[in-house]
């Protein structure tokens, strides 16, 4: 399977390069490290700063001579952020919406991905075109009619409406990934099972599903993260403060900024990142190989 061949850098990167650059760029080494340091600072410093801000007391945040690391670590911003009732409710809403979206997307994309990669019908071309087109059109064109439709059927200000929108919105990507994973399972395995007298359903359950599960997990987590992070649709479709998702609540938190709130704002932002970051660590390898698998075999 190409998947293993493409799993990212650690596997064959270093050995290859050691062979390649025998003495070629001994002078370049320090420069390379300097550049790497530059990247590490650019990418890492904002994160470090967010972390240390969340650990500073309100008094220290107002100090005229701030230090990067807090003089005494203060965890009260985190409890303060959690105690803000609307953030807690918002986290609950985000979790509900993201989980429901993940389940729904998985249920509808799994059979579709299987059909698209196994049956050579016209559907496949249509699906590819749609997947690509869905990336090009600006959301503003979709959101206005969607707003009107959802309003008509009473799903504005409703988490069900949000789940439906998120599902359709993350479907192209889920299909793209899953279809690549399905294509990576040899058809011969299914045919062998059929020869041995297994029914279609049984073949799918006992042969395809187990082989597909790592890719399925990656797709699920990716869908979860997309829904958890999404902002624009939520901004338009949800007005009730009790129904707002975490990104919405955080964006409104800023309005009430003020120097005193900075610590709590940083703490809340960190807390909001943890779930998707955790999931991301779990799937990053598979995600990249999945993208490529979809690209290579789609």
């Amino acid at each position: 399977m190409t998947e293993t061949a493409l799993t990212l850098p650690t596997a064959n990167g270093p050995r290859r390069n050691r062979r390649r650059r025998t003495g070629a760029t001994r002078v370049g080494r320090p420069l390379q490290y300097l550049a790497l340091l530059g990247y590490i600072v650019f990418l890492g410093f904002p994160l470090l700063f967010l972390l240390t801000t969340s650990l500073k007391s309100a008094r220290e945040l107002q100090s005229p001579n701030p230090t990067l690391w807090p003089t005494d670590v203060d965890w009260s911003n985190f409890s303060g952020a959690i105690e803000k009732a609307n953030l807690f409710v918002a986290a609950g809403n985000s979790l509900t919406v993201a989980l429901a979206t993940t389940v729904f997307v998985t249920l509808i994309s799994l059979p579709a991905a299987y059909a698209l990669s196994r049956f050579k019908t016209k559907l496949r071309g249509i699906a590819t075109v749609w997947i690509l087109l869905s990336q090009v059109f600006p959301f503003i064109l979709i959101i206005i009619p969607l707003f009107l439709v959802l309003k008509q059927i009473g799903l504005i200000n409703n988490l069900v409406g949000l789940v439906l929108v998120y599902s359709v919105w993350s479907l192209p990507f889920a299909l793209w990934m899953l279809q690549g994973y399905v294509a990576g399972i040899p058809v011969e395995l299914e045919e062998a099972a059929a020869m041995d007298g297994a029914s279609r359903f049984r073949t799918l359950r006992t042969i395809v599903l187990p082989l597909l599960s790592p890719g399925l997990v990656a797709t699920c987590l990716f869908t979860f993260i997309s829904a958890w992070n999404e902002f624009f649709f939520a901004l338009v479709l949800i007005q009730d403060p009790n129904l707002q998702t975490l990104p919405l609540a955080l964006a409104r938190f800023i309005g009430s900024e003020g120097q005193v709130q900075l610590g709590q704002l940083a703490a809340a932002s960190l807390l909001a990142t943890i779930p998707s970051l955790l999931f991301f660590v779990l799937i990053q390898r598979r995600l990249t190989s999945g993208l490529l698998a979809g690209a290579v075999k789609g």
């Binding site: 493409l6 990212l8 850098p9 990167g13 290859r16 390069n17 390649r20 650059r21 390379q32 550049a35 790497l36 990247y39 990418l43 890492g44 904002p46 994160l47 700063f49 967010l50 801000t53 701030p66 990067l68 249920l107 509808i108 579709a112 698209l116 699906a127 749609w130 990336q135 090009v136 600006p138 503003i140 064109l141 979709i142 959101i143 009619p145 969607l146 009107l148 439709v149 439906l164 929108v165 919105w169 299909l175 058809v187 011969e188 395995l189 045919e191 020869m195 993260i225 992070n229 902002f231 624009f232 990104p247 955080l250 900075l262 704002l265 940083a266 932002s269 998707s276 990053q284 990249t288």
Partner: protein
Amino acid sequence: MTATATAPAPMKRRRRRGGGVAGSSGRDAWLLVLPALIPVLVLSVYPLLQGIFLGFTDSRAGFNIPTNFNGIDNYVKLSGNGLFWSSFQIGLIWAFSVTALQFLAALGLALLLNLDLKFRWLARTLALVPWAMPPVVIAIMWRLMFNPTYGPIDEIMRAFGLPGDTNWLGNFATALPAVIVVGVWAGMPQTTITLLAGLQSVPLELHEAASIDGAGTIKRFWHVTLPALRPIIVAITTLDLIWNFNSFALVYVLTAGGPGGQTMLPMLFAYNEAFRYGNFGYAAAMGNVMVILIGFFLFFYLRSQARSRLS
């Protein structure tokens, strides 16, 4: 193995299946795709077509306001709307600079990550984090960074004796460059990882052959690495350009389009038109103009790439 033992049979089966595309397997495929197809038609295809159509009407928010088809009125009005065109210009500056800088930064990082350097793991991990962060959180983080009284950027400038009181996001001259930096930071992961995967699929033999012919590092980069990466570069910069042009959350939270419309991306402009002022038809017309322009750029970019690959 069993696979070899049963090999002849699947061949026959597949042929039969292939012949019956219009028959049972075609119906199977439709049946399996249907659960995904219905929501897509209702919540994606229909709204999209309706949205394009709304761009030719005077649709407004609110109950019982009749919607009338008004042809190209919206576009005539748009062509005289200086604010929209300046927002469009800002959108293009934003999309092209973010995409270009993102690409250069990501290419540099990918090349470094492809070397056998210490601390590579750290840079690699850090490069992935922005991918997982909600755009709203990224924006909040950079608001803190750019904060004129508390933010570390002004702090560092003061430490070097420079005027450290710039209100980066509130200043006419610095707001757009500042949000572009954030855009680059937020979008680097996808580009880096994609390019890195591409770098690792460049056949080693090509490099060896070039070395034997006496090509140095830079020559090999120009004549071996870049041409081999080309399809991946075209694909990722195309996607980046589309994503950046259509991006919303980052700048909405950073500046909400301010100061004085200096960072008013077209998406923000259209959002305000639709959901602040309620001019649905007019906003949809803006969306149509955006699609046409982005399609135009993509067409020329992809065509020039296809041509130079042939030559």
